[in-house]
Symmetry: C2
Subunit: 211 residues, 2 copies
DNA sequence: TAGATTGTTAATCGATTAACAATC
DNA sequence: TAGATTGTTAATCGATTAACAATC
């Protein structure tokens, strides 16, 4: 019950996201030389309850010392192992429009241990350009290049009309994790994990709260 | 109980997001000439249950015809009224780095009835540039310009070190809806609504699912 | 009318919070 | 040891799903 792999089905996505938030916060504490943190302190920083912090961690084992709390560096290391971010994660991006290009040079990704290893587009005017040291390649060569580069995660930022077709091709290349920016539900088999980032929906739902 | 304004506190954010998804799906159906849709069909398109569709709508009133279903155009109009997207929403963006610039030209926003009316940066090399017809202005003039432009929503895409300060200034200009791309919890009063889009966390939590 | 599908209530499921014995 | 905080169980809360009478 210690190993994350047993939990693929049972641990809710919301818990996983919070684990990543804990890891980030712990990192900042580490950089500030903090040697000790309680679930109470960590929770305060994130606007949640201490019980939730402890409950989330309990999915994966015991990481604290009763009466003391947690050691930031230690806990962060364990969270990174659980999340699988204790190694470099190799990312390919499909679609080098404005959004794709911005993601390609997003410094937040590099800081967190992600590395772009390939970028694709179908537009001749974009192919060959180099952004953040990555050459934009012809999407016709997707399969050949992806299979050679050991890609872990694909980011999808293509026009909606191409999204499903590109997804199918990615999956044939054994990609089973996709971060999808296309406002469309992708049809994939159960072993493929898709996270949706829907920028328009975020804005639209905000407008509900305008006084 | 019909008016969305009464529900600001009681309707969960997840419901509001689904309403926006319903509106989008209904729009596509409309464009395809579909004159009638059941909660079952709508739910299938979105991968949820028909009961959830009906329950979500029930927060705001009765929109369907028993034995018949819903008229896409009609329901979409009502959802847009509830969401407040039946008018042009005016958006300002603070931070014109790669991400900011990409958002500024993101066509998905225009399609949904959002309009950028101002963009800001502190970098002299960016100030004065025009992107998507919007001139990037000196952030020193934030207050003056925002107050003149009736901004509804601000998008935050500045470096983490500036995020809280910029937020405080936006709120002083009566902005009470912020779409925040900075990986940091913003401190705001209760009447201000912040939606977080945390790109690094999305990627990190995906890596958990890598087989 | 018969069939279909709504709106709504009740049942279920899951996630969050509270409480506390264990323990450093 | 006394105080603090964990890990975990039980209680609460909220959201999702099922069921069905109402009704077009």
């Amino acid at each position: 019950m210690q190993n994350s792999k047993n939990h693929l089905k049972t641990v809710p996505k919301s818990v996983i996201k919070r684990l990543a938030l804990y890891a980030r916060t712990l990192h900042r504490m580490e950089l500030n030389g903090i040697m000790r943190v309680s679930s109470k302190t960590l929770a305060e920083r994130l606007g949640i309850t201490p019980a939730q912090v402890r409950k989330d961690l309990a999915h994966f084992g015991q990481f604290g010392v009763p009466g003391f709390g947690y050691r930031p560096g230690e806990l962060r290391e364990k969270l990174r192992k659980i999340l699988g971010t204790d190694r470099m994660i190799r990312v390919a991006i499909v679609g080098a429009g404005n959004l794709g290009k911005a993601l390609l040079s997003y410094v937040g990704f590099r800081a967190q241990g992600f590395k772009f290893v390939a970028a694709f587009d179908s537009d001749q005017r974009k192919i060959g350009h180099i952004i953040n040291n990555i050459k934009i390649q012809n999407i016709d060569n997707l399969e050949k290049i992806i299979l050679g580069k050991k890609v872990d995660i694909a980011i999808l930022a293509v026009p909606a009309s191409k999204a499903q077709e590109v997804t199918d091709r990615l999956i044939k290349c054994n990609i089973n994790a996709i971060l999808n920016f296309v406002p469309l539900r992708l049809i994939v088999s159960d072993n493929v994990k898709v996270h949706y980032v829907d920028l328009a929906i975020e804005l639209e739902s905000l407008s509900f709260y305008l006084r």
